[in-house]
């Protein structure tokens, strides 16, 4: 089973009452300094703070009426998106989160109506706990990326980019989005190419986690050598691209950027300074790709997705201490 543009159109129609059409922002003064036109799709402004709300809403609203309960596992934005989507449809939500997940995120997931079940990272398997809970509650598991409903939901980001580019009378040369498992990049690839076939699409990954870039280059699924390496981009790390998402990404993506921690933090500062938005590390790397020149060659107009804003205050403070790009 794959995903087609029609599935993304259907997802857009299904979820539009529950999601926010986030703006495509730009900064005239940054554009001038950069010598390119950069448009930032500000998914950090999405309900629950990230694009994950889209896939979760599409999955939850695709469920049969007989389903009364959902289960999801995530330490971050997928937890919040799933909790909110379930609450909107009046379903119970049980979210499996690591014990050491940020307390703020747990608190927000609870405030969205979810029950939280915690587990100990590296000692317990969240997949197993999730499966057991789903069995116990006769609940439906909402996966975080390798699922046609999730891919189609995230693909609505690409649909909106194409719509908003047309409204602005802009023809982008490139679209860049971050990649973890590939739910966003695969859905976005389908939607953007359906509406703007000439646009080059790239992914962005944090240093040491460039499995998708290497997979696109080699044509087969490559894995991360060591998943224990620390990265601040926790939201976008994954051992390898998904079985469902990879063939789609292979078709639509032509390259990838690899972003250092320093460049990630400087990009967060740049987005603070020029765009006045709060972006989390994983959410900033596609913009970092545009700012550091890691994008399709000769691209003059670039859309980068700022995927989420669920950042811890202490990491944001670290970024604030750095110089942004192109100032001073």
């Amino acid at each position: 089973m794959t995903v087609k543009f029609d599935n993304i159109l259907a997802a857009a129609n299904r979820i539009h009452p529950y999601i926010f059409k986030t703006p495509l922002l730009e900064s005239p003064s940054l554009n001038k300094k950069l010598g390119k036109r950069l448009l930032v799709k500000a998914e950090c402004l999405q309900y629950t703070g990230s694009f994950k709300m889209r896939g979760a809403a599409n999955a939850v609203y695709s469920l049969d009426d007989s389903v009364k309960h959902i289960v999801a596992y995530s330490s971050g934005s997928h937890a919040l998106g799933s909790a909110r989507a379930a609450a909107l449809r009046g379903l119970r939500a049980t979210i499996v989160m690591p014990k050491d997940a940020p307390p703020n995120k747990m608190e927000i997931a609870k405030s969205l109506g979810a029950e939280i079940v915690t587990y100990t990272r590296f000692k317990e398997s969240r997949e197993q706990i999730g499966a057991e809970l789903a069995e116990k509650y006769n609940a439906e598991l909402i996966p975080s990326f390798d699922d046609p409903r999730i891919i189609a939901g995230q693909g609505t980001v690409g649909l909106e980019i194409a719509q908003q580019a047309m409204e602005k009378v802009v023809k982008p040369d490139a679209v860049i989005a971050c990649v973890g498992g590939g739910g966003l990049c695969s859905g976005l690839g389908i939607a953007v190419h359906a509406m703007m076939p000439d646009v080059k699409i790239w992914c962005a990954e944090p240093e040491f986690y460039d499995d998708t870039k290497r997979s696109i280059e080699s044509g087969k699924i490559e894995t991360v050598a060591d998943t224990s390496v620390h990265t601040i981009c926790d939201a976008v790390v994954n051992r390898q691209p998904g079985n469902l998402t990879f063939p789609i990404m292979k078709q639509h993506l032509s390259g990838g950027a690899v972003i250092s921690e320093q460049d990630t933090l400087r990009t967060i500062k740049t987005l603070f300074e020029y765009f006045k938005i709060v972006v989390e590390p994983g959410g900033a790397i596609a913009v970092a790709a545009a700012l550091t020149g890691q994008h399709p060659s000769n691209a003059e107009t670039i859309v980068a997705v700022a995927t989420g804003g669920n950042i811890e205050p202490d990491i944001f403070s670290q970024a604030l201490n750095l110089d942004p790009y192109f100032l001073g």
Copy 2:
């Protein structure tokens, strides 16, 4: 000469190619905790980081073709808005800024094409320098608030709030905006009441600078006792309401909130946490009014304007160290 709703409609038509229709954001989880519906008009996402771009664009695009040069004085957002508006129309811009203005703001004003003339606060008069430069260059002075073109331009914020509330099928009970000289509150008052006559409109001011609240209550222009008191809300302090803005505010505003520094900073943190936007101190006080219950009684649905995001990183870091409202 006063300002009518027609002038605001004309301003909206005049400036729409140059300004961004900023979103009306909301956070379902914050609404739940607050027990009210709070809609935030995110003018921090406006070009040049504040609503000041609107008034400046309306003033600059109202000028006769014979004008080739503008002068403005401001340490902050009005400087950036005026510089950008002039550049868009192809005019020279000379901006008078204090020597100790944030270097980032000077840098951005320059990148927007302006020439900067500095002066020493408390020793030199920016009004006099501005008038001399206007004379020398045969340039037009763009005032920051007490001017019909500025009031009409800022009023487009109110027009958009009414439009966006209708699009969302929401009927606000109250609209709150910060006040310095009153350009925004007067224009917004005219526009909001033209489209939604029942809405109560309040202003918000920082502690020690509640001249507009007291003026509304007494019915005549009241002044700040001591303008040397330090406030982080530098963008919204003024000795007294304007001669043109006050009669309009008296007609449209029914009260005001007074916000402490601590509440201002906690609101900045709350906007970071729930809305993922960067808001400066003066820009946060209208939202603070809603969060601290200083709003028209029985208001269940409140629109607060987050007027700007031009904040220094060190003040934002201070806010990040505080607890937001309604978490934990």
